[in-house]
Amino acid sequence: MATKVYMDYAATTPVKKEVLDSMIPYYTEKYGNPSSVYSLGRESRKTIDESREKIANILGANPKEIYFTSGGSEADNWAIKAVAMANKDKGNHIITSKIEHHAVLHTCEYLEKHGFEVTYLDVDEYGMVDLEQLKKSITDKTILISIMFANNEIGTIQPIKEIGQIAREKGVYFHTDAVQAVGNVKIDVNELNIDMMSMSAHKIYGPKGIGALYIKKGVKIDPHIHGGAQERKRRAGTENVAGIVGFAKAMELAYENLEEHISKLTKLRDKLINDVKNKIDYVRLNGHPEKRLPGNASFCIEFIEGEALLLNLDMAGIAASSGSACTSGSLDPSHVLMAIGLPHEIAHGSLRLTLGDFTTEKDVDYVVEKLVEIVDRLRQMSPLYEKVKGV
């Protein structure tokens, strides 16, 4: 069935019309290679410079501190691997958390195989890292702290400024994966004590395959892709000009309307959460009750399994996601749900609904209506529900 209601904005977003319109000329008439000296090339170069400036201004950064990448995963990999390589004479210890995106976790695991030591911080039931544990984990050998800004599954927003403060006091670099936070939170990299920050355009109504890494001036980091002189010789490759333009436009739109976006989404999200809680029993909200992304509603619905739920929602034209094991083909539920202490059997029933700029109140009502029906149907055939209900 065709998608009627899209509630998976945290997975990706459609490209907004203004964004696409801004990109098209760079595929057609303005196709010059930014490294070329003739006018067509200089025009591309100028556009990239302007885009970089727009993004930098929004984040309170210097344009020279913004490096374009092919997305959030590349930015995470770059930040972590290349700080590790460039600072290994200083130490071999990295601190991160248990609820990071795989782009951070798997990169850390890779480094563990190559002589680095990684501390994976616990989180509490709401998904919050413990600043005391963080402080205690820092040793002489610690070179990097990487803690995500906001979690993609449960929406919890970390105390970034405080983490940055701790890192700075100890002389340790601080990287944050802000892929989910960008466009949903006001960010000033200096105020928040951030040294490196990963971003991705496709989460904020920009195109897939473009992102950026903010690298504060002075941070010791290796180049990521060797080759041409692009991105100040740190990330070679002919620039994805159209993608960069689209990314900058998406950032502009996001931050022009940030307050409106936040208040609209928060209202819809809270309605969704309340309706689900009121109409379905044995439901829990995952993540922090207040310190959460405006569009994130993550639940565990007991006695049913996430994939079966998603398939049924899909058949009702609803696009949603789950941290259930079966979705991913692995057998364990998401590491995030495990880290916040959910028992396996409950984590299996997770459902993530994420709202965005095109979500309406009608969408919320439709999703709640269908969800009630589907949960009921699946519970009727669940041997676990039978036991609880004492049927």
């Binding site: 006695f303 049913i304 399994e305 996430g306 994939e307 079966a308 398939l311 058949m315 259930s324 094991a325 079966c326 083909g329 692995s330 057998l331 539920p333 028992p343 396996h344 059997e345 299996h348 009727q380 055939m381 669940s382 041997p383 676990l384 529900y385 039978e386």
Partner: protein
């Protein structure tokens, strides 16, 4: 991802429910792994005259349960014992490799119900001599 047949059995599962006073009940899997299957059998003169299931699990788990019930309904115990996981998967037009364990679970649920029937009736079923319904098909 799933074949049409799987989606059909997932959307309209056959034989959902339970049988009061069933002659054999088998439950396999565990909630930690995200699948539990419970099979109820009605057996008369060595023939499975009715079968129902309840399943907590993913799309494949529900579809394989449904298919398995269809395959054993009206069959003798001997015939039912020949319904392997491979057969269930084949009848469904195949399963994604990550989901093959679900069909194993269906095979085991039937066996577990038959074992329960045998125990209750003090029968020895040769094929189930080494069968342990609590063995985890996930091998992890």
């Amino acid at each position: 991802m799933y074949s049409e047949k799987v989606m059909d059995h997932f959307t309209n599962p056959r034989n959902v429910g339970e049988i009061k006073n069933a002659d054999g009940i088998g439950e396999v899997g565990n909630p930690k792994c995200g699948d539990i299957m419970k099979m109820y059998l009605k057996i008369e003169d060595g023939v499975i005259t009715d079968v129902k299931f309840k399943t907590f699990g993913c799309g494949a788990a529900i579809a394989t349960s449904s298919m398995a019930t269809e395959l054993v309904k009206g069959k003798t115990i001997e015939e039912a014992l020949k319904v392997t996981n491979k057969r269930v998967a084949e009848e469904l037009g195949g399963l994604p490799s990550a989901k093959l364990h679900c069909s194993l679970l269906a095979e085991q649920a039937i066996k577990a119900a038959l074992l329960d029937y045998a125990k209750k009736n003090n029968i020895e079923i040769e094929e189930l001599k080494d069968f342990d319904p609590n063995e985890d098909p996930h091998h992890h």
